[in-house]
């Protein structure tokens, strides 16, 4: 999917994208291009990227790249794909009913789900909120087990 959405492999690329996306939501997908769930998510992202292009930018980050490892530690990424939302270089949290509010883990069932999530984040960010609640019903949110220090 690298040829469809901008794929970032270097830290400075990620940094510059985070810094330069102003007044728009930045959707960063951390994942592998070989994972099937990632591919499905990439498909959803690619198809909806144009629809949300007025208020969001979508980019993919390759988790295998050596420079990105520091981000994996910083963002505490263990499951792939993980999607992190930024607005004006500030990280946006979303409460989707799971334990981890800092990122979206897994894929979206429909393109509309993704658009709804990004819209919720945008609305919250424009109002000045750093955390928003997820507009999707719980059955459409992918579930996962969160380990704390491998407990």
């Amino acid at each position: 999917m690298e040829y469809l959405l901008p794929t970032l492999r270097e830290k400075r690329e990620v940094d510059s994208l985070i810094r330069d996306t102003i007044d728009k939501v930045l959707v960063l997908r951390f994942g592998l291009s070989s994972d099937s769930v990632c591919l499905q998510l990439d498909d959803v992202l690619y198809k909806s990227a144009k629809d949300v292009s007025r208020f969001a930018t979508v980019a993919l980050v390759d988790v295998d790249s050596p420079e990105i490892q520091v981000y994996l530690k910083y963002f505490d990424i263990t499951f792939v794909p993980s999607t992190i939302f930024f607005f004006n270089a500030h990280h946006m949290k979303m409460d989707s009913g799971s334990a981890d509010h800092t990122k979206w883990i897994g894929t979206f069932q429909k393109k509309q789900d993704f658009v709804d999530v990004v819209e919720a984040i945008y609305r919250g960010a424009m109002k000045g909120k750093l955390i928003v609640s997820c507009p999707l019903p719980p059955e459409r949110i992918p579930k996962f087990e969160l380990l704390y220090k491998n407990v």
Partner: protein, 422 residues
């Protein structure tokens, strides 16, 4: 007879809902009305719409039945007919004649059966079946005409002719064609199906041209002329004619090359084109000299709408607030309370300055990390970032220190060392 059928159905099941759901292809919906459905007005109207659409397509094909025309392969690809009764496309492959495959399909027995079945099933009136097919007599006549054309073309190939004379003939007939056709512009393309050329004179001229590539040339020029008729109607000037020129040149060029004839004929045809263009009554827009001085797309000048915008910008002071105002469309001021507003404003300033040439390349620290709220975080986000950086540094130090460690050695007791040294 219909009443009897309906009565029988009613006796079998009083309740209409007991019948199975069927899909009506005409209305494109599922219903459980059984045979009653075809008499409902909604179905009747959609059926009549479908059949009229089909009739219009068939009427485009019918003239070719009367006068078979030769069609080059490139244009054949664009002609296809969707047969509603057989639910398949009829593509023009392997036939030199226009709508050849379509006519063959319409004349076939299978198609006729399907037409009758369709009309019975959807209540169109089985007596109308003949209007959707080609009767055998007509089909045979068409076949004969095709054969005749083929033999004539074969004869024509045997006779050679010089290129110059041929091109003069072509140019002449192009001119005369235009004059003849100013009256008959009613036959315009509707569905993209091949439109027949009316005048028999053309056909004769084409056939009697006696040139090796008469078949392809005739086809391509006829296509070209048809296109030109449209253009005269629509009054699209240079662009479309330019396109047609390219198209004609490419198709004719391919023909020439494939026939292995010289390159010169291709060049000559261009002349023929330009001559015919001049002879057509195209409207000329005479532009004033001012525009020529100002420059145009080809000289790379800026478009006029940019010029006025630049003037405005230069006149105003380059303040950031003005800049923001001119940029944002709906809301002149974005919510100042939004997330990261301060950062956004600062960053916009920086980008604006960079854009204007005062390059302030702030080389950000390679270790810059964005503001991130950790998962198991307590405290502010700045704290989480610092904590992470501290942890990072510690781990880095630890790594570097471990390298300077003395390599591990097995423990040798004092006694053994003493023994060794002695």
């Amino acid at each position: 007879m219909n009443h009897e059928i309906m009565k029988k159905k009613k006796k079998k099941n009083d309740n209409g809902e007991e019948q199975q759901f069927e899909f009506c292809e005409v209305c494109k919906l599922n219903h459980n009305q059984g045979r009653r459905h075809i008499y409902f007005p909604a179905h009747k109207s959609s059926l009549s719409a479908l059949l009229t659409r089909l009739q219009s397509k068939l009427s485009d094909v019918k003239p070719f039945l009367k006068t078979p025309m030769l069609l080059p392969a490139e244009h054949a690809q664009q002609n296809r007919l969707w047969c509603v009764f057989c639910n398949r496309d009829v593509i023009e492959l392997d036939t030199p004649f226009a709508c050849g495959k379509a006519i063959e399909h319409l004349a076939s027995g299978e198609h006729y059966k399907r037409v009758k079945g369709f009309l019975w099933k959807h209540g169109g009136g089985t007596h109308r079946a003949d209007s959707f097919r080609v009767v055998e007599g007509d089909f045979k006549k068409w076949e004969k005409k095709c054969k005749a054309m083929k033999t004539e073309a074969a004869k024509a190939e045997a006779v050679g002719a010089s290129n110059n004379i041929h091109n003069e003939l072509n140019a002449d007939y192009l001119n005369s064609f235009h004059e003849n056709n100013t009256n008959s512009l009613d036959f315009n393309i509707t569905n993209g199906v091949v439109v027949p050329l009316q005048s028999y004179t053309n056909e004769k001229v084409q056939v009697s041209c006696s040139v090796p590539y008469s078949a392809s040339e005739a086809g391509s020029t006829s296509y070209d002329m048809r296109g030109r008729m449209q253009m005269v109607d629509a009054q699209c000037l240079k662009n479309s004619t330019g396109f047609m020129d390219n198209h004609l040149s490419s198709s004719s060029h391919v023909d020439y090359l494939s026939n292995g004839s010289q390159v010169q004929p291709g060049v000559k045809v261009f002349h023929g084109d330009s001559r015919s263009l001049n002879s057509m009554n195209l409207q000329k827009i005479s532009y004033s000299s001012k525009e020529a001085i100002g420059g145009n797309v080809h000289t790379g000048a800026t478009p006029p709408w940019f010029n006025s915008a630049e003037e405005n910008e230069i006149m105003q002071k380059p303040e950031l607030s003005n800049f923001v105002n001119s940029k944002a469309g709906k809301s002149s001021k974005l919510n100042p309370k939004r997330v990261g507003a301060a950062w956004a404003e600062r960053r916009k300033l920086e980008l604006e300055l960079e854009r204007r040439g005062e390059v302030i390349t702030k080389d950000y620290d390679a270790n810059w990390l964005p503001n991130f709220g950790g998962v198991w975080q307590s405290g502010t986000r700045r704290k989480s970032r610092k904590e992470f950086q501290v942890e990072n540094k510690k781990s880095l130090e630890f790594d570097s220190q471990s390298e300077s460690f003395v390599p591990l050695q097995p423990y040798i007791s004092k006694r053994m060392r003493r023994d060794k040294s002695e």
